[in-house]
Structures are given as structure tokens and as C-alpha cells.
Symmetry: C2
Subunit: 338 residues, 2 copies
Amino acid sequence: MTVVNSILSGDRLALSRLLSQVENRTSEGRSALRELFPHTGKAHLIGVTGAPGTGKSSLVNQLARYYRHPPDGVTPLRVAVIAIDPSSPFTGGAILGDRIRMRDLAGDKDVFIRSMASRGSLGGLATATAALAQVFDAAGFDVILIETVGAGQAEVDIAGLAHTTLVVEAPGLGDEIQAIKAGILEIADLLIINKADRPGVENTERALRGMLELAHPSPRIYKHHGRIMQSQDLPARPEKEGPSWVPTIHRTISTEGVGITEVSKAIAQHKDYLVQSGDWRRRERARLEAELETHVQENLFNRWRIGLADHLYQQTLEDVINRRLSPEEAAEILLAGD
Amino acid sequence: MTVVNSILSGDRLALSRLLSQVENRTSEGRSALRELFPHTGKAHLIGVTGAPGTGKSSLVNQLARYYRHPPDGVTPLRVAVIAIDPSSPFTGGAILGDRIRMRDLAGDKDVFIRSMASRGSLGGLATATAALAQVFDAAGFDVILIETVGAGQAEVDIAGLAHTTLVVEAPGLGDEIQAIKAGILEIADLLIINKADRPGVENTERALRGMLELAHPSPRIYKHHGRIMQSQDLPARPEKEGPSWVPTIHRTISTEGVGITEVSKAIAQHKDYLVQSGDWRRRERARLEAELETHVQENLFNRWRIGLADHLYQQTLEDVINRRLSPEEAAEILLAGD
């Protein structure tokens, strides 16, 4: 049986091997990705991000458990988790191992949890995450939870990949948290105040509502949050037409499972919104176009570099290092012959 | 007087305008960058990064103050600060404004503090930061402090730009901090334990030393930290030859100015190490080569896209969206005619 057939038939060992190959960008991994591509496009990608100490991991765990064991009448879903941990330079691996995370869900063949080391290369993390998500998507996982630590560029990039992004906050995490929240509002579809039994939860919620109010200035949004807003309910937003999603705020205590049902419902409502508004397809299109462009760029550059005499390249680079040419001028000179 | 001459002669208003143009990638900004390039290559770029709540801003402030008002016999330096704040989607600007940060150093014409909104686009932040740093470098600032919030991909990218990277920690910032530290060790030249008057400082230092011990397994490194290590003192490291830098650990209480002199000395030692080991020039070369490559890639892609019939591009993209072609296959088909 080919690797691709093994994946499609649910072979976990083959899946695990392929994920490593894809993460390490081997040629086997690339060729399997191509073959699997026609089987993708069905999974719901859910990003979960937030500052350290907010309890994202346990929230992700609880969501995975909820999807596996929903209330009566709700179909269980197959769940993959991609946990992006800061890597250690000396172990070469992730700090929080797969086994620790899997405790609650061990032995369930419809759950697959994968830790990924964060990479140092520009754009590498989002690209690798996208590739892993494609493998899980093709392998028939309905929900892919992507957990990232922090509030940096990687989180913004991964939010571009996810259909629905949860930003997790917690009361009392220090004085810079306000600034973080403002930056991350841009990518949040759901705002989760986890550890909601801690002191300061009211302040955290008030601050988030204040920021939402500034971003979506309508007196009505607080009555309506959690459902799709119609454009006539809101002041005109210049960037787009049609229904619009206002980020919703939810309190959870993930270590005790409090609030998880409500969050899962809001995630489902956001998915409905995406499909009905056409955003699901628009996001898909933008993402695939970016991927296509990346391949074209790499390909064009590699061809060009192979066709260029190395001594010419090195000599021009020396001119840049010695400040005789700017990098832009050097690029123009090297390209002038083409 | 041209913009470039105004910058070189120390005109702050012209500098401020040019920084905005460069950040917004206007054509004026690009052309000024080209003209300024021959005047760059002298400044010491110092990255300061760490999790929210560690007190990075006040540390940066204190370092700037130290460089402006050093002890007797030490030459004051001209200092620029690039503070990368999470941007707000509704103000379009940075939360912590320039004026708030400048309080301590207001009126000093040899200090220039610039807040930059973090961008949503992949790679955009590091590119924009590099461009701003070039402007400051050409304008004759000796030290450029680059402050970033968080521990994400952007910080790793900016560490690639900086000559010296300070990673700031603080005692008692939550349970995920261990993992963060491990990821960030890779980029740290100096590890700063700020807020060192807080409980838990011993644990924080022990954890950092433990991680350093794993990364640099020599019984001698703790006796020697803070000065250049000779390779014969350390076990062979496969990745490079010659002297090697072991990250040093420093305690500070930046709100009270405690430990700032020691940190500034360690920064100076790291610079000496970079120059003596040849790493300064190697980093410069790698950075300029990456910049050259980016220009070539953009240029090649733009030319290619202009030369391609739009209906062909759109049709191939539709095939990708409908899963008839993978993005990689589509790229190959579109490039086949070239």
C-alpha cells in the first residue's frame, strides 16, 4: 500500500511518519502532500493563541475532549492537535512532549496530538503548520486545533491559516498585557478569559469589552454577541459588505471544564458565519493563492541562481558588503542581463 | 538640501519624516535608503526581547540613559530606540506612544525613540525594522536598541538582524515560562533577570543556568561567564571553530537602575567578541545577502506576473481551489512556458 493510501485508510503509524517527513521537508513528504491535496479542504482549522500562563494547553485539551465526547445527539468529531512549542536548541525537540498532552485522550484512535518545534527561519513556522494541517485534513480529521504560544508574528501568520482564531487571556498577567490584547484583537474571532475564577476577571473583561467597543462602535453589539450580526445592525464598516462577525467574549476555567460547551457552540456559530458569508471560501482562496505564489517565487529564484555565474554573484555581494552598492542596486545589476 | 544630506547633517525633522516613509515603503523612502546605504555599517544593533511583564521598556530606557550619561572617562553614545509595539487595529498606531517613553530623555538631541506598529504581513516586521535601523545607522546613531514584545517568530527574525540580543526574564511569570525560555535560549547572547527583587529570583536563575548547562556542557563556563571563551576551554562544538560566546546571566532591577552598568559592560564585551571572532562580519554578510535575495525574488516574481496572462493565472488558481491541482503542481504548470 502506498503512503497516501495508508494515510487515507487511517494508519496512525504512517500518519506519524509522514508528519515528520512533511515537517522536515523531505522529498517524500512533498510528494505525498501533492497526492493528498485533492483530499483536503474539509477540516475546520481552529487557532488557539495567547500569552504564556493563560492555560491554552488545558483549554485545547478540554476542547478536544468535548469534540470526542459531546452531549447526546451531537456527532463526535475526529480531532487533531498541532501544538507549536518553543523548541530547545539542545534536545532538538519540543519541551512538552506528546505523551504528557495525550494523557486525557490516550488510546482514542480518533485523536492525534502532534507537537512541533518552532523554527528559526523566516516564514518557516507558518508554512510547516500549513503542511501538517493539510495532512490531517486529508487523513479525515474534522477539527484541527493549532495551539501557539505568544502573541508575535507567528501567531498572526497562523491566524491567517486558521478559519477560527481563539485568543486566550487570563486575569492578572502583568502590566504589558493591555498592549498585547490590543494587538491581538485584530486576529481574534473568540476572546476567551480563562482562569476566570481568579481575582481581576471583571477588570480583564471590562478592558476587552472596551477595546471591542472601540473597534466595533455599536451600542448593540453586547446584546448580540455570539450570533451573526447583520450589516444594518452595525455602522458601515468600510472594509467589507454583508454580514460581519463581532468577536465574542467567553469565560472559562479550563482545568475544571467550565465554559467549554459555550466555547464550542461559539466556534460552531463562527463556522456557520464563515460559510454563509462566503468568508470560508475567500480565506481558502487567499491561502491557496499565497501558497501558489510561494512555490513560484522559490522556483523562479532557484532557476535564476543556477543560471548565474557564481563569481559574478559573489563579487556583487562583496560590493554590497563594502557599501559600494545597496542590496537593491545589486539586485538590479544582477538581473539586468536576464 | 536633499533629504539624504539633511539626515546626514542631523536634521531630526527630516529623520522623523524619512522613518515614516521607510516604514510605509514609499518610493521616496526606498530611494533615500539607497542613497544612505554607503553611510551604514557602523552602528551596534542590540535586540531586547522577552515575555510581557518582564519590564523590557524600562530596561531599554535605562540602557539609553546609561549610554547618554556614562561614568567619567567613557564617551557618551548617540542612541536610537526602535520599539515594536503590538498595533491597535483601530488607532492604526502604537499603544505606548513615543512621548511616554521619552520622558527620561526628553530634549536630548542625541536620542531618538521610534515606536513602530507591528504588521500583519509575513516577514514585514523584520524587513521594516531592518530598514529603520539602516536609516538610524546612516544618521550616525552609535547604538540602536530594538525592543520587541513576546517570544515569537518576529523576535527570532529580529535577533538575526541584531548584533547582540538580550533576552529579558522576570521571576514568577507563570507556568509556561520554562518552555519559552528554552525556545529563546537559541537567540540570547545575554540573559537578563529583571525585577530581581521579586521572590523566585533564585529559581529563575537556577532554571536558566540549568538550561545553559545543557546547551553548553562545560564545568568551567560558570566561572568564566562574561568574558570571551577560548575554544580549548570548551568541548568541541560541531557548528563552528574558534572562540565561542556562552550567554551570560545578569540580574537587574531596571526601575531602580540596578545592574545596568554590568549589562552595558557585557554588551561591550559581546561586541568585542563579535569583532575579534569575525562573527560581526559574518553576520553582516549573511544579512546583506538575505536582503539582496529578497530584492531579487520580488523583482523576478513581479516581472513574471506581469508577463503572464491574467486569465491563465486565474484559471489555474481555480483549479487549485477546486483541488484539481496542488499549489506546487499549479506553479510548475504556470512556469512551464518560461
